[in-house]
């Protein structure tokens, strides 16, 4: 493993110096959610837009609509001379691997997935760590000692969010009850606010008073239900506190915007490197949001507890279980 990683880095150092600063032609391939999904893809969109605004360099973009278009779009970008090419979402890992082999001189960056090739940079996040922190906050904010989780589509990635959240809540208090629901089994589960709202109301009826939604556009319904019912909700990926100030306890931040921005920026400055980047709490790739919209909801005690937990995680004293390491949630 170490040897192959070294080989990867060596290979990259050899090929990295081809492009000079500012002559990049970046491209981004958004995934099925689309660039305006108010969540994951939009985070990437914000990041590349910031790059465009700062550098004045235009980028090419494409939004895929079916499985096969991923490979097609990535290849078309490469054929058109785009470099670097940014892929969004784990589902692009397979297609990017195929295309990256065909274009060894093109730099590829994949967010949320891993491709082990000398011209691919893989950026992944420790969502479980950020989820742990908001789980802790949720348990402390809950007066009924009962917190809820609403996931989008039932896939391992979302269970990783759920597992981290559960562990965080139990860390605050072992008596806390964690209720979990997934919105659905098809991709429409990412964009079903009506169902999100129903699930949230169902959980409120069972005594839950803080809900964490990791469900893309579906979350909007959860947050609305929390506002209507006078309960608390927790946003995901982007800082969603502004949506309903007063009932948004916090948001679990996953800085895909920073990852996307850095991918282009590093390519421009010739500091882009292949290999795997794992962004957790220590790297500030995940975190929780505190701003003027939710500062009244976060007590000093809560802030102290969450800061202490974050420090322990960074120091390695607390290990947050990664659901996807063994497909179970045991911690």
């Amino acid at each position: 493993m170490t040897i192959s990683r070294l080989g990867v880095i060596a290979g990259m150092l050899l090929s990295a110096s081809v492009a000079t600063a500012a002559d990049i032609t970046p491209a981004v391939v958004f995934d099925m959610g689309g660039k305006f999904d108010k969540s994951f893809n939009q985070g990437v969109y914000d990041g590349v837009e910031r790059f465009k605004a700062e550098s004045g360099i235009e980028y090419r973009e494409f939004e895929v609509t079916n499985e096969t278009q991923r490979e097609q779009a990535i290849r078309r970008m490469a054929q058109r001379g785009a470099n670097p090419i940014l892929g969004v979402g784990f589902a692009q890992a397979g297609p990017m691997e195929t295309v990256a082999k065909e274009f060894p001189d093109v730099k590829f960056t994949l967010i949320d997935g891993v491709v082990d090739l000398p011209n691919v940079q893989s950026v992944v996040f420790k969502e479980q760590e950020g989820s742990f922190l908001v789980g802790l906050l949720a348990a402390m904010a809950s007066s009924n000692q009962s917190v809820g989780f609403v996931g989008g589509m039932d896939i391992p990635l979302i269970r990783r969010f759920a597992c981290g959240f559960e562990q965080g809540a139990k860390h605050a208090s072992a008596q806390v009850d964690v209720v979990q629901n997934m919105t659905g089994t098809t991709p429409s589960a990412w964009n079903d606010p009506g169902r999100g709202s129903e699930l949230a109301k169902g959980q409120f009826d069972r005594g839950v008073d803080v809900i964490y939604a990791a469900a893309g556009g579906t979350g909007v319904g959860v947050y609305q239900a929390a506002k209507d019912g006078g309960k608390l909700a927790i946003g995901v990926d982007s800082n969603q506190n502004y949506l309903h100030p007063g009932t948004m306890l916090t948001s679990m931040l996953k800085r895909v915007d920073v990852a996307a921005y850095n991918a282009f920026k590093d390519a421009m400055n010739d500091t882009w490197e292949p290999g795997m980047k794992v962004l957790g709490l220590a790297e500030e790739g995940v975190g929780w949001a505190l701003d003027e919209n939710n500062e009244s909801l976060i007590t000093d005690e809560m802030k102290a507890a969450v800061d202490a937990a974050a420090a322990s995680i960074v120091a390695g004293d607390i290990t947050v279980h990664d659901y996807m390491s063994d497909n179970t949630c045991t911690y």
Partner: protein, 373 residues
Amino acid sequence: MNTSSIALPAWMEIGLIPVLNIIMALFFAGLIMLAIGVNPLQAVGIMINGAFGYDEAIGYTLYYTTNFIFTGLAVAVAFHASLFNIGGEGQAYIGGLGVGLVFLLLDKYLPAVLLIPIGIMAAGLFGAAWAFIPAWLQAHRGSHIVITTIMFNFIAASIMVYLLVNVLIKPGQMSPESRVFDESAWLPFMHEFLGWFGVVVTRTPLNLSLFFALFCCFGVWIYIWRTRWGYELRTAGHSEHAARYAGIKPKTVVISAMCVSGALAGFVAVNEIMGVHHRLLLNFTAGYGFTGIAVSLMGRNHPVGIIMASLLFGVLYQGGAELAFEIPKITREMVVAIQGLIILFSGALALMLRPWVVKVYLKFKSADTLAPA
């Protein structure tokens, strides 16, 4: 004047009216493009060039066409028996499950000559089995097939997610996908196939399932118009009472028609799973099952019409993707709107222009007959 009973020559019915419909649709699509400041002629140029302009484009167009032929045929067969099979999506999905299960079990042990026919049979059998349940419920319990097949799409999606997330997933990977099949289970790509004959074409997802799709078109034509079963199917479709009077068992027809329909939908997996992805994954059906309804309507439920309609949809999908790629102002939602307009004019409003065509036709015809010989 009621013109629906006046017969037009076949070339007008099958050729002229569909072309007029598409022109109407493109006209309205052009208005939308003008509204957002895009030159419609340039857009049409990009779309056609993106669908036929170079060998990679043709490959993608025909790859989409293959899927639409399968799902279009599936809807058409059921339609001839007066059944509206909306479950093509789920049947294709479960067909993929059949292929996946068989290949995950056997790909290490059997050679390609055995694996590929087995895979095709598994796709068909699983698709047929998924259609059998709603068919049986319709025949014996009177549950309406439209409702049950729609619901079975969701059940299929849930089963697939459960199996891929919990059972069939390759351990330690992010994406809910099975492992990649052994290469002996891969249906050859068209670029590989042509390569054997020394013809070099760009790599595309197009694979040999296109030939299988065309073979299925021929098979469906034989089945519906040249066999006793097809005769029974059409009779029961026209009038259940007449069919029963003629000694045909409508219940058997419902079940057999739906099973054939489900098998055809299941063959989408031959293209997608055996031909392109070589592993079982989520959502490979991507709505092809639903689009098959429009394809079948537009193709007048006839295999030749379905091939033409499938090609048109292939062009819309591939050309539309190129359009979104080349012109940033045209988003993928815009492409869906253009596709929607074409479906609207060719499907739902298919006969809107017919009365005028009949009038013009009658005028010319009467001019002909009145003209001195």
